[in-house]
C-alpha cells in the first residue's frame, strides 16, 4: 500500500482554516509533504503551530480546507464520511497521548476491537491479539483491564490496537506525553523497533528524545513547515 514511487503519503498544498468570529484561524497554511514507505517522521514545533491539526488531516479525521492528501493511493480529502471511517479502520493506526483504551474491555479485547469492526473472524482476531500482545511485551496481561495496567503498559496496548488491522501508516500524537522519563524511553525504543520492523511512523511530539530517535524531523511554525531534515530524496 504505497503511493507513487514508494510514497505512502503525499500531501499537496494542504490548508486548514477554522471559521472564528472576526479573523479566521489558519491552522495549517499550504503544507506539502511526502512520506515514503518505512519512514519514521517526527513532526515538532511549538504549541499551537498546527502539528496536531496536520496529524488529524493526515489521519482522515479532519478535512482540509484546501489541498489534497493521498495515502496509500487514495485521496482522503475526497472520501465520504463512511469511506473515511473505513479508511481509518484499515489504512491508519492511531496512538493518542492519553491512550484512550476502552476501560470496560480487557487489553486483548481492546486490541480486538478494530479487528472485530473490520469483521475479522473471532479465532483469527484472537490469534492476532495474542501475537500483538507478545510483540509489545504484554503477553501475560491479556485479561487485564486498563486500570490494572501502568501508563506505559496502556500505551503499549494502544500501539497494539493501532497495529491490529496492519495499517499502511501509524500516526502518534504526543505518545510519551503522559509517561515518566523511564517509560517514555521504553516507548521510544518501541517506536524504533516498530519502524525497524517496517512500520511507517509519523509522530507529533514535544519530546526531544523521541524526535531525535526519528530518522526525519519536520519542524513547523505558524502552520507551515520551516525545516524538513533527514528527508528521503
Amino acid at each position: 500500500m504505497t503511493t507513487g514511487a514508494g510514497l505512502v503519503l503525499s500531501a499537496r498544498d494542504v490548508r486548514r482554516d477554522y471559521p472564528v468570529v472576526g479573523t479566521p484561524v489558519h491552522a495549517v497554511r499550504g503544507i506539502t509533504l511526502d512520506i515514503a514507505t518505512g519512514e519514521y517522521v517526527a513532526i515538532v514545533g511549538p504549541s499551537g503551530c498546527g502539528k496536531s491539526t496536520l496529524l488529524n488531516l493526515l489521519g482522515a479525521i479532519d478535512r482540509p480546507t484546501a489541498g489534497s492528501i493521498t495515502i496509500a493511493g487514495r485521496d482522503v480529502a475526497q472520501l465520504s464520511d463512511a469511506e473515511a471511517t473505513r479508511f481509518r479502520l484499515t489504512g491508519i493506526g492511531f496512538v493518542f497521548q492519553r491512550f484512550y483504551l476502552m476501560p470496560t474491555l480487557t487489553a486483548a479485547e481492546n486490541i480486538e476491537l478494530p479487528m472485530s469492526e473490520a469483521k475479522m473472524p473471532r479465532a483469527e482476531r484472537e490469534a492476532r491479539a495474542r501475537e500483538l500482545l507478545r510483540y509489545v511485551g504484554l503477553e501475560g496481561r491479556a485479561g487485564h483491564r486498563p486500570y490494572q495496567l501502568s501508563g506505559g503498559e496502556q500505551q503499549r496496548v494502544a500501539i497494539a490496537r493501532a497495529l491490529a488491522n496492519k495499517p499502511a501508516l501509524l500516526l502518534a500524537d504526543e505518545p510519551t506525553g503522559e509517561l515518566d522519563a523511564r517509560t517514555g524511553a521504553e516507548m521510544i525504543e518501541m517506536f524504533a523497533r516498530l519502524n525497524a520492523d517496517g512500520t511507517t511512523l509519523v509522530v507529533v511530539t514535544h519530546d526531544e528524545d523521541l524526535a531525535h530517535a526519528a530518522k526525519r524531523r519536520v519542524h513547523m511554525r505558524d502552520g507551515e513547515i520551516v525545516d524538513d531534515s533527514g528527508r528521503v530524496a
Binding site: M102, P103, T104, E109
Partner: protein, 395 residues
C-alpha cells in the same frame, strides 16, 4: 463486541444503573397497573356475566338489577309467558329483601335473596348443602360470624320490622343448611338465601307473587338482543338487559376511571422516557472522549448509535421486566384493599392481568427506551472527532 461494550458500560456505574432501572421498573409497574385498571373492572365484569348461564337480566323498567327496591308483580304468569318464548331455555326469578335476626339485645340484619335453588347463580355452596325445603336458609360467612351461628343451627328470622308496633313481621324459624359465597355481594356484606316462595310469604301481601329480577337463559345459537327486544315489546313493565348492554352501562360508569388510568399511564411512559434519556445522556457526556476515539480508529457512526441505543433498550427491557413483577404484586395488593370497599362484589377485580394488554404496555415502554436513546446516540456518533479529542486532551 460493541454490544458487549454497551452492556459493560451499564455495569461500569452499577449503582446509577441500578437506581435508573429501579425508576424505570416503578414507572413500568405504574403503567401496567393503569392498563390493568383501565380494562380490569370491565373485563372482570364481563367474565363474571359470561360465566353465568344466563344471558338476559329482567328488571323493572328503567332500573338496573337491584339498583332500586322496585319489584314486579304477577311474577308467576310473567315467568310462564317468558318461558313460552321458543328461544328461552329457562328463567330464574329472584326477589331481594332483608332478613332480621335477634341475637340477645341486638338485631343482625342481612340481605336476603329469594331464589329457585334449582336455577340460582347467585352463590356457591362452600359448606353444607343447598336449599331443599321451604324453611331452610343458606348464609354467607359474614352473616354467620355476625350472629355467632353455624351450619345446622335453627334461627328465628323476620323479613321486616314495623317501627310503629316495634315488632318484626313475617317471622319464621329457619334452619341454616349451608354456607355460601355470594358472588354479587362484597366480602363484608351479610347475605342470606331462602326459597323464593318462602321470602314472598315472609314479606306478606306486599311481596306475594313479586320478584325483583329474572335471569333468562337463551337457547344456544339464538340472539340474546333479539330475545330482549321481544320481551321488552311484550312486557312493557320490564327492561331486558343483555350482557352487552350491561357492559355498556358499566363502561359509561367507569369512563372517569379509564380517563384517569390513561392520564396516569401517559405520565408513567413520560417518566420512563425521561429517566432513560437522562441516564443515557449523562453516560454519553462522560464518554465523549471514548466515542471520539472509537470514531477515530474507524468504528462506523451507526455502530456508535447502536451501542448507545442498546444501553437505553437494555435499561428499558430490564426495568420493564422488573416492573411487570412489581406491577403484579402492587395490583394484587391494591385489589386486596379495594375488595373490602363497601358494595363491591367479591368477584370484581379493579386490576385484572390481561397478558396482551400488559405486554402491549411494556412494549410501549421498551419503544420509549429506544426513542429515549436516539438523541444521545446521535450526539455521540456526530461528535467532531478532532475537536473533541483536542478538548479532551486540554481537559
Amino acid at each position: 463486541m460493541m454490544l458487549r461494550l454497551a452492556l459493560a458500560n451499564l455495569t461500569r456505574r452499577a449503582a446509577r444503573t441500578a437506581l435508573t432501572t429501579a425508576g424505570v421498573a416503578v414507572a413500568s409497574s405504574m403503567l401496567l397497573n393503569m392498563v390493568m385498571l383501565g380494562s380490569g373492572m370491565r373485563e372482570s365484569f364481563r367474565g363474571f356475566l359470561e360465566q353465568q348461564p344466563y344471558q338476559l337480566r329482567l328488571a323493572p323498567r328503567g332500573t338496573m338489577p337491584f339498583d332500586s327496591e322496585a319489584t314486579i308483580g304477577g311474577a308467576g304468569e310473567l315467568i310462564a309467558r317468558i318461558t313460552a318464548d321458543p328461544d328461552v331455555v329457562s328463567v330464574a326469578p329472584v326477589l331481594g329483601g332483608k332478613l332480621f335476626v335477634e341475637r340477645g339485645d341486638s338485631v343482625v340484619a342481612g340481605f336476603a335473596l329469594g331464589i329457585d335453588p334449582t336455577k340460582q347463580a347467585d352463590y356457591i355452596i362452600a359448606e353444607g348443602r343447598d336449599l331443599v325445603a321451604p324453611d331452610e336458609t343458606v348464609w354467607n360467612g359474614a352473616m354467620l360470624e355476625a350472629t355467632g351461628l353455624g351450619v345446622g343451627d335453627s334461627v328465628r328470622g323476620a323479613a321486616g320490622y314495623d317501627p310503629q308496633l316495634r315488632r318484626f313481621t313475617g317471622a319464621r324459624t329457619l334452619v341454616i343448611v349451608g354456607r355460601g359465597r355470594f358472588v354479587m355481594l362484597s366480602g363484608g356484606e351479610r347475605a342470606t338465601a331462602v326459597q323464593l316462595r318462602t321470602l314472598q310469604a315472609m314479606g306478606g301481601p306486599d311481596r306475594a307473587d313479586r320478584i325483583s329480577v329474572a335471569l333468562v337463559a337463551v337457547r344456544e345459537g339464538a340472539k340474546a338482543e333479539a330475545v330482549a327486544a321481544r320481551i321488552e315489546a311484550s312486557e312493557p313493565r320490564m327492561s331486558a338487559i343483555s350482557t352487552e348492554a350491561a357492559l355498556k352501562f358499566v363502561d359509561e360508569r367507569l369512563g372517569y376511571f379509564r380517563q384517569l388510568a390513561f392520564i396516569l399511564a401517559s405520565v408513567s411512559l413520560a417518566v420512563g422516557f425521561l429517566l432513560v434519556t437522562t441516564l443515557v445522556t449523562v453516560s454519553v457526556n462522560e464518554r465523549i472522549g471514548e466515542f471520539a476515539v472509537l470514531r477515530a480508529i474507524g468504528v462506523a457512526r451507526w455502530r456508535i448509535v447502536a451501542q448507545v441505543m442498546a444501553e437505553g433498550v437494555a435499561l428499558s427491557v430490564v426495568g420493564s421486566i422488573l416492573g411487570l413483577g412489581l406491577g403484579l404484586i402492587t395490583a394484587q395488593w391494591l385489589n386486596g384493599i379495594l375488595a373490602a370497599f363497601p358494595g363491591l362484589p367479591t368477584a370484581f377485580e379493579f386490576f385484572r392481568f390481561e397478558p396482551s394488554a400488559a405486554f402491549r404496555s411494556l412494549g410501549m415502554l421498551v419503544i420509549c427506551g429506544i426513542l429515549a436513546g436516539i438523541w444521545p446516540a446521535w450526539r455521540a456518533a456526530s461528535l467532531p472527532i478532532a475537536k473533541t479529542l483536542r478538548e479532551e486532551a486540554v481537559a
